[in-house]
Subunit: 374 residues, 2 copies
DNA sequence: TTGTTTTACGTTAACGTACACGTTATGCTA
DNA sequence: TAGCATAACGTGTACGTTAACGTAAAACAA
């Protein structure tokens, strides 16, 4: 009875006894409790040290840090997630899927798949899309995105200037950011995930060179309404030409720039170019619009070697058809998947990604396209 | 004071008050507690229903099951793991990495990487290796594996009979199982992750046909001490030949079977075959031993087209060298990674894999090998 | 001196599940 | 009908972490 009376006067002693009970029951070897026990402090203090929060004297902090190293403390992720029950909101800003090209469906699929997998960890993904032809739409979407206070951002920085401005603001807010598909090398980011363009041009060149004779002529076709700003195409062309130089191959190579994307315009340009260069035996189209060229060649019963880019439905059809020989592709779906996973792993301290993750450069042909996206 | 006195007499009432407090504080919408609240039972009973344990009346069981469906109850995996603090042990049974070929380092790397990522969820991986030349070693390793009572198994079933016997036992024990690299289609398993051999043979044929002239002869080389049992090689050859048939290509194709793997034996065989078939312009080696052929061709200053398999160091060297033109490869690292992840996702109810996951069939050349394994 | 702020730390209630154990209620046997 | 087994359910607590809250004591101000 005196025990219980004691309880009344100093309720705390009750807990002390509880504490004793627990200590008797258990001999912990890991975790914050063990750290606290060894340091003769409470787990609260340990927690403050672990999370670099203030309110701990330097001496205590040091002692605790020492113990943490000593026992090689690895926080229990499950307990941590359970306790913090924080909801992380990832924001994704990528081009919308236009009628013109369904390229971005693939990264989007990858993003969504990753989203499914990390959902259970309390991660939600919010999507923002912009029109690849409108800088305004990009700015508008970027603004909306930042208003949502995301904890992580995935960005496809198509417009360099506008993206740079946005990235500046993101970095001020200290939000982890990954680039996808194209890089802004000078802007700090967690990582870049996407293609290495120059090398893919070289690969296209190698494939071309293996399939044609020494004297055959080659034509590089760039199709873009905004060619000056499309450094993608330039890099690929550079890679292509350098390969031929490096390999001491003397095939004549001409470049055809087409600034309009309607079939009619491309058709005119290509036919005219072919008249002027009748010995051209192979075409290298530096982006996914290779299906337009395939269409034209088919219409005019031409059987040139045709190499282009990207696993799009319209391209695959011509691949099956035999009109396109090789498509070069850099795992668009995986890009999206890896980007989300990189953010997740970073925020959950699983690991930090490389500064740049270059996707493998895949060659798609009639005989392997079936297995490309499973 | 009277309150504390009350506590003495009926200690429970203290908890009751606590309970009340909690109920006031919270309005839960998910989880066992909510189910218990709706069903007017305790969480203990709900727990029993969820885990199909006895001790619940049919009426109560039905009511609870109904509520579980109603609110679409998804157990919180983290809480569950934390509470049960069970350690899941995955067992891996794959060939060891011989001096002859380092192929299995790649799947192993993938497995280890996945292992790192799931470690935090209390998953450990135990490795068992067998000698590809010894069925006994397989049986021994399989026995050891089963003695460890793993909760999931990853198996590379190289020896069909022995593997089948093992799989039978695994299925009796009801342990989730995935096959990697080769399949046992008739044996039930969670999934198969690996190559589609026939199609990769077709792809090799396509690459070959694009790079040679119509009249050039082709030689298929199978190198294996146990060719009869190596259905891998047979399937690839079938694919290769079928492509030429389907494409109405008339290039003569001969097959050279070599039953010894020493360089000397292969050299003799190849040189002799070349004398008999002087018009051979291209070789297709149906497995990773293509580097042996490359070695021989280089030694004798031959510049035939050479297509083979697998991203091995010795093969890559000849790829850089130019002696090998194409390597076909089916993401060995990813196979290992995906296999572990499939088991993890299955056991954690994230999702169930497809019955068979065929890896993309990649083409590796001098110009893209750098980015293949990042 | 007294009052106020700050520092440094302890305590405790969640988070959602699992399970050992205690308590009734019910049925069955001798 | 006493005695006992067992079915059916409730209770308490552990799991490891987080973070809000509380509170001494120290530092400082008046």
């Amino acid at each position: 009875m005196s025990f219980y009376l004691h309880l009344h006067i100093h309720p705390k002693s009750f807990y002390y006894i509880c504490g004793l009970n627990k200590m008797i029951k258990k001999t912990e070897l890991t975790g914050v409790k063990e750290i606290a026990r060894r340091a003769n402090v409470s787990i609260g203090t340990v927690d403050r040290v672990i999370h670099n929060r203030k309110g701990v004297s330097d001496a205590t902090r040091q002692k605790i840090n020492l113990i943490i190293e000593e026992i090689n403390y690895q926080p229990n992720k499950m307990a941590s997630l359970l306790a913090s029950k924080k909801i992380l909101n990832f924001a994704v800003l990528i081009p919308d899927i236009s009628v013109e090209t369904d390229y971005w469906t693939y990264p989007l699929n990858g993003i969504e798949q990753a989203g499914e997998e990390v959902k259970q960890f309390g991660i939600t993904i919010q999507y923002f899309f912009y029109d690849l032809h409108s800088r305004d739409s990009f700015n508008k979407a970027a603004e909306e995105l930042l208003n949502c206070n995301p904890q992580a951002i995935l960005l496809a920085p198509s417009f360099i200037e506008e993206s740079t401005a946005m990235v500046k603001r993101i970095n001020e807010l200290n939000i982890p950011l990954v680039f996808i598909n194209s890089d802004l090398p000078k802007q700090p980011s967690l990582t870049y995930i996407g293609p290495e363009l120059y090398q893919s041009g070289r690969l296209a060149a190698q494939l071309t060179s293996l399939s044609i004779a020494h004297e055959d002529e080659i034509m590089i076709i760039n199709i873009s309404t905004d060619l000056e700003n499309d450094h993608h195409l330039v890099r690929k062309e550079q890679g292509f030409r350098t390969y031929f130089n490096d390999s001491k191959l003397t095939n004549p190579i001409t470049t055809l720039n087409i600034y309009e994307t309607h079939i009619a315009s491309v058709e005119n340009a290509v036919l005219e170019a072919l008249q002027q260069n009748p010995n051209v035996k192979a075409f290298f189209v530096t982006n996914s619009r290779v299906n337009i060229v395939a269409n034209i060649l088919k219409k005019h019963n031409k059987t040139h070697l045709l190499v282009g880019y990207d696993f799009l439905k319209s391209n695959i059809n011509y691949l099956i058809d035999g009109q396109i020989n090789f498509l070069i592709c850099q795992r668009p779906k995986e890009q999206g998947y890896l980007a989300i996973m990189a953010l997740y792993k970073y925020l959950f301290n699983i690991n930090e990604p490389e500064k740049a993750i270059y996707m493998p450069i895949d060659i798609i042909t009639k005989e392997n396209y079936q297995f490309y996206n499973s």
